[in-house]
Amino acid sequence: MDFAFSSDQQLLKQAARAWLAEHCPSTVVRALWDDARGESETMWKEMARLGWLGLAFPEAEGGSALGMVETAVLLEEMGYAACPGPYLPTVLAGLAIAEAATPAQRSRWLPAIATGQARATVAFLDAPVDWAPEATATRAERVGAGCALTGVKQFVPWAHVADLLLVPARAAEGVSLFLVEPTASGLTFSPLLGMDLGTRWATVRLDRVPVAADAILGEPGQATGRLDWLLRRGAVGAAAEMLGAARRCLDLSVAYAKVREQFGQPIGAFQAIRHKCAEMLLEVENAHAATYYAAWALDAGAEDQDLAPSIAKTYVSEAARRVCGEAIQVHGGIGFTWEYDLHLYMKRAKALEAMYGDAEHHRELIARRVAR
């Protein structure tokens, strides 16, 4: 029984913190916010070199055979830095491929992802933004040996830079998961700009996009289980990133409360501020416990592995919202300026609140499992 990180996990965390502080300070984040593409090729290649992109892949396919705990460690640090880029969607697509793909699909994509040559994403949502895989509305019609996909996918993370899109679509036999390359005909992308410019989304329109017979991931018509599997990992990944963003907001607030003086003393000396900071720490520590418990449960195949990710997502979504919001309040006016970095982290957490199932979505999943 040990909840603490192993020494290897601790080293990974320290290395990620240090690397991101050097290569992705807020000046870099802000430059990428202003960039049309929104992410950095150099940074991506460096992440590949550090082994971050293939972290969870088998060693034979260029990976490090690590798990969700290590992935969450990295994502927490990316949240702490508000690092822009398609890390989480690429990891999710990679996990699905590593779990369910044919040998040919694996050798086509896993080494490419691990070496930073390919970015990937998952197009979970149709226009009604329903996270239940059963709600998939995009259609797959049989054309010869393959299929043609038609529909509109919304809020596809980093679709404009993806070399591979995992697209759930409904065929006669049920929902299948298709591997779609952006060069296919009938695909159009239009950007959706949210408040976090370090997270880029796109509307992806599919108009009879041809996919070959060998471009289905896993059993045809059986993808809803795989999508649930993937959403649980997305929920934990998002929780980790929100945790990092919240911890950054807490750190900034505590540092500020020690130096900002009003009424002749540091504002941190006032209980009104000190108690807020204490409540923020409580939320962050509980969010840590929720996130890493869920990551561990997935890695260990614990009996509550299907439940713990929902608990993490619902808890951390709300905790991060509170912590980041209170951080602005502790700062006062300066926390409302574009100049001050606080909003970078607050917006990252906000963007992830709505992704991979919001708090309400996961509360319903929890109720289904425990209130029967």
């Binding site: 416990a289 418990y293 425990v370």
Partner: protein, 402 residues
């Protein structure tokens, strides 16, 4: 990270479970003698004072083993040991700060419940500001004479001894003039009056000391060291009970789900109402997060790490959660949640560790105590702010004077 129990711990858990199945008292323990006998039985089986040194009757067991026992007891709603305060607070204080003679004299009788203990800390005018306590202990050579009043004394009515904080030097700053004594409760100068709390029963007492006598040989630590000692006793055992607490919440949760299936609104079970489902999902998430946090603290304690002021986070977290939990329960239960006796359905009976009737109403009322006792939520936030986050201390009137 590895959150599985070792095979040894699993075997220990199973053995504990079997022992409880075989020995759990059938029916309620009514008399003091029955409760003492149950305490003694737990001790003889090796389930009390587990973390104490072997030479004083303990087993040098780690916090995880203690937590497993507490958790298994919660699972079957076993009655708590009657000398709980002696086991969790007084004994460890004597182990850490007591003389050899004090250890020989007192520890074993705590373990066997031959002598029951209470804690004489809070006063009518010294609650959160405990260091301003006014009970005096005047030096008379081989003993001190104690005058003053204590309040919120758990188990005061049955106690043979009390762990007392009293002022021995009024001329020095308030934190430095306090000493810690063991006070015999069965003497003419000590009067114990029951204090009825909002649940209707009297779990606590007021204790009036009029020229009561405490021996100098029963001074714990040095004269003037009392505040420091009190600081350490308040942080004992935060963690050991945390899993057990969650186990009780969970048992109650399943009762609540039963209620939500049975009670209806507009002709449909409450459990079909999306709003109720959302709130049930949310509270269950909070409940589980309490468990994860407990595992985190416990595994650190088991490695010998001291949580120090961070234990304030644990206390703040669970006590505030308990209030939210019981507010929600009473909303779901409607008027059934108000009943204090005579409940018609099994799901209206819940396990408690307070010894009171297991109704939701009692549990709800008790949830108001947790954020006040052992350092209120406001005090915990001060501790977290100052000692964990390193925020500046506030300007305080008593510090200015000192």
């Amino acid at each position: 990270m590895d959150l599985t129990y070792s095979p040894d711990d699993l075997a220990f858990r199973d053995a504990t479970r079997r022992w409880l199945e075989a020995n759990l008292p059938r029916g309620e323990l009514k008399t003091l003698e029955e409760r003492k006998a149950w305490h003694r039985q737990l001790y003889d089986a090796g389930y009390l004072g587990m973390g104490w040194p072997r030479e004083y009757g303990g087993q040098d067991a780690g916090p995880l083993r203690q937590a497993i026992v507490a958790d298994e007891m919660a699972r079957v709603n076993a009655p708590p040991p009657i000398n709980g305060l002696g086991i969790s607070i007084v004994g460890p204080t004597i182990v850490v700060h007591g003389t050899e003679a004090q250890k020989r004299r007192y520890l074993r009788k705590i373990l066997t419940a031959e002598e029951l203990w209470c804690q004489l800390y809070s006063e009518p005018n010294a609650g959160s500001d405990l260091a301003s306590l006014r009970t005096r202990a005047e030096d008379r050579g081989d003993h001190v004479v104690v005058n003053g009043q204590k309040i919120w004394t758990s188990g005061g009515a049955g106690a043979d001894w009390g762990l007392l904080l009293a002022r021995t030097d009024p001329t020095v700053p308030k934190h430095k003039g306090i000493s810690c004594f063991l006070l015999h409760m069965r003497q003419p100068g000590v009067e114990v009056r029951p204090l009825r709390q909002i649940t209707g029963s009297a779990h606590f007492s007021e204790v009036f000391m009029t020229d009561a006598r405490a021996e100098k040989a029963d001074l714990i630590g040095r004269l003037g060291q009392g505040w420091e000692i009190a600081q350490t006793t308040l942080s004992y055992e935060r963690g050991g009970n945390s899993l057990a607490r969650v186990t009780r919440y969970k048992a109650a949760f399943h009762q609540l789900v039963q209620a939500a299936k049975t009670l209806t609104r507009g002709g449909r079970p409450l459990l079909d109402d999306p709003l109720v489902r959302s709130r049930i999902g949310r509270i269950y998430a909070e409940l589980e997060v309490q468990r994860y946090a407990a595992l985190r603290v416990l595994s650190a304690l088991d490695k010998g790490e001291s949580p120090g002021p961070a234990s304030s986070i644990t206390k703040l977290s669970y006590s505030e959660f308990e209030k939210r939990y019981h507010e929600l329960a009473l909303e779901i239960l409607g008027p059934w949640g108000q009943l204090t006796a005579g409940v018609p359905w099994e799901f209206l009976e819940i396990a408690t560790s307070s010894g009171e009737p297991g109704t939701w109403a009692h549990a709800f009322l008790w949830s108001r105590a947790g954020t006040i006792y052992a350092g209120s939520s406001e005090i915990q936030k001060n501790v977290i702010g100052e000692r964990v986050l390193g925020l500046p201390k506030e300007v305080r009137a008593d510090r200015l004077k000192a």
